[in-house]
Symmetry: C2
Subunit: 211 residues, 2 copies
């Protein structure tokens, strides 16, 4: 199988870390989003939405969307489990994963896309034509990230990982969100969030974090 990938973007990194935790490797095709490699006819014939990451299986089947790709890897390589093991834990990991996406990654994306000069007419990702950036949305994204950090700090006061005692996909989403927020959106972990810092140090020390 083949992963259409982008270094520096948070979603492809989520898949790379997920695969590294599973010990799964595959061919990677690097596409530069800023240059528009994701909007060429060639790539749009593979993924009409023009979004990365995209996985193509050996039989040509295309799977896009980060969490859907992770689901495929989880189902085909169950160990170590990164998405829960029974009805309740699967649901709780999914819930926490989604909190990280909606409360953290979405505002980080909004903060970046609506302030980065190179995306002044690409306020939304993918194959959507010109979409002007909205300054107020960049500001709203930063305020949401502040709330995200503070809530996460409370949640991590009495648990080791985002979804409880085990490292899961929710930690991967949170790590990629925070590293992206710190770099692209200039919103690093606040000094006041000691629990988030402790957690971030621990998950960043895993081999998979280099992926």
């Amino acid at each position: 199988m083949k992963l259409f990938d982008t270094n520096g973007a948070p979603n492809p990194r989520r898949v790379r870390i997920f695969m590294a935790e599973k010990g799964v490797d595959c061919e990677k095709v690097e596409l530069n989003i800023v240059k528009g490699d994701n909007l060429t006819d060639e790539f749009l014939s593979i993924n009409p939405r023009g979004m990365m990451p995209t996985l193509q299986l050996d039989d040509g089947t295309v799977i896009d969307e980060t969490v859907a790709i992770c689901r495929y890897i989880e189902e085909s390589h169950p160990e170590p489990a990164l998405m829960g093991t029974d009805a309740v834990s699967k649901a709780q990991v999914e819930s926490r994963q989604r909190h990280m996406e909606w409360d953290g990654l979405l505002p980080a994306m909004e903060a970046f896309r609506n302030s980065f000069p190179g995306f002044a007419s690409r306020g939304l990702g993918g194959n959507v034509g010109d979409v002007p950036a909205i300054n107020e949305l960049a500001e709203r994204g930063k305020a949401s990230l502040e709330r995200f950090y503070n809530r996460l700090n409370d949640e991590l006061s009495d648990q080791q990982y985002i979804a409880g005692d085990n490292f899961t996909i929710a930690d991967i989403t949170a790590l990629c969100t925070i590293d992206f927020a710190a770099g692209a959106a200039r919103m690093p972990i606040p000094d006041s969030c000691a629990n988030v810092r402790r957690w971030h140090e621990a998950v960043s020390a895993r081999d998979s974090a280099k992926a």
Copy 2:
């Protein structure tokens, strides 16, 4: 188990339809979001994010986030399968489900929340304090919904359901998105989208659509 529910909101309806398709029923507690029932101390002690739907199991375990609640129901009541049956179909259903959320439901929410007078200072849902509405975001949401309808119309030209041959959670998300877009965001299915209309008529005729 007990579902904290809101009539008229798309996310709780997704869970109600999902449960109806499975033949699962439970106690429902109706909360009025416009009146702020979701932001009382009582509800925030159950779900600190103040979001509906929220499911509480008989042992007190709380599961929030629509798709996480559906995951719990899918795992505990596997038939009929609504989230795929093997690694590839599970991934593809998840991918399509997420397309419906990010390309349809998110912009419908943005179009509604940023134009509805009652939410002038509640531009984001849940327990986030005052967040001013952004007019431009309402307009961007409507433009995204137009693209969503047109793309969906192309996709439905050669398949019966959103994720292929079977009715799945992706159809439920799309149905609730479109009915919400048509009502709250005044963006009904365009006349030009005959495939979407055909699909909408078929899924609306299912018993579960009344849920």
